[in-house]
Symmetry: C2
Subunit: 270 residues, 2 copies
Amino acid sequence: MSYDKCGYDTLLEAEKYSVTAGGKHLRGLILLETAKYGGITADNAVDFACAVEMVHTYSLIHDDLPEMDDDDLRRGMPTCHKKFGTAIALLAGDALLTKAFSVISNDSNFDCDKKIECIRILSNACGEHGMLAGQTMDKLSENKQIDIQTLTDLHNRKTTDMFCAAVKMGCVLGNIPHYIRDQLVKGMSILGLAFQIKDDILDITSDTESLGKPVKSDQKCNKSTFVSTIGLEKSCALLDRLVSDTKMIPVFQNTPFFNELANFFINRKK
Amino acid sequence: MSYDKCGYDTLLEAEKYSVTAGGKHLRGLILLETAKYGGITADNAVDFACAVEMVHTYSLIHDDLPEMDDDDLRRGMPTCHKKFGTAIALLAGDALLTKAFSVISNDSNFDCDKKIECIRILSNACGEHGMLAGQTMDKLSENKQIDIQTLTDLHNRKTTDMFCAAVKMGCVLGNIPHYIRDQLVKGMSILGLAFQIKDDILDITSDTESLGKPVKSDQKCNKSTFVSTIGLEKSCALLDRLVSDTKMIPVFQNTPFFNELANFFINRKK
């Protein structure tokens, strides 16, 4: 049997399938816009934006696997394991996580100090105390009612940490002054939670066609959500308050992208 | 439900379980001895050795999962998913891969240029063209007879690339001159294949108690091995030849550790 008949290119195909399946690319965009605030062009920061998106895509592939949420649909298309089987999906996720660090280490636009700082931020955000801690809590709290503090902690790790990593990396690349960096991180740490609350609201109020993924998926896994924990009305009020709080922060008031971003977090339909 | 009742520490426990489950720690040891050849103490290079071992352990955890080899026993103990369930094993593997890059980025003994070079080497070796390509080929060639060239390519990616990464990283840390580096990489690229051939031989000739993992596991998955492809006798002869070839390389002749390493690759019982 010849080399290519072994199907090694299947791995690359599966990675490409998931990376190009659409999605909002919010984290990559936030990184690029933050770097741009510091005068760095998108062309120069693109490796870092891709790295953040690769980590996000890997997390979705693994989160969709049968041992996790067992989801069949993502962004309106079959999930990676539905298309390529669970083994290839597992490996494609592993490959995207690995490639994120590879892409940063191979970047030729920034010095090694900045690259190491970005790897430190990214690996911390998606690691055992960040995103993976959140995914673990999410999995282990299935079929349990958790309180609002635990739910908030869970989603700060699972979702917010990666949004914050995107702005932090953009700040490193763009040499953003500390007082602006602090504002951006503060705003993003509020918006990260807002993003998840909106997700929970959409899961109840939207439909599969609009969302591109099954609605009421949290009910299927019997997961606690903001809606199941504090109700729909209070969740909407909390979302409004978080976005209003963010828009009080000067850099979110004064910079069109970040102002629009805050609005998008409340208005998005998917 | 309080924070710790959510079981987030289960993730750390699963990582620790697999990392401390024994094993030969060969890749970490090779890195340390290579760095030592360049005058770097083990204390100073230990972060990098741990990173290599974390990547190796993650690959074993994911390789043992039901969608891959579905193995119950590793190093004489239940595999990670048998002990913690498939979801936690998946996440523990992800966490160890992530932590490998985190540990290197946080190291305080070497400058960022060396750390980036090590991340580049490691992510390349364990990525989509290296170890993960080998794992993909391995999985997709189940129930097929593959030829000796394809089998060799598969194991050069799956096994040899990580051994070579360990010496390459040691060379970076220890400022090893290029002509010695080339000898070490050449020898290790031969020994990596020898390691796999020995594995295939032990899978047939050893027993579960000695190996700490089930024997004849390749037959169970109907995988091509060197023994199934060229027979036991020719596999033993090939192993002898590869180790002899390695011992002809000056640095393997003259350095006690590397000389013993070549002997170990032929004589090991597990």
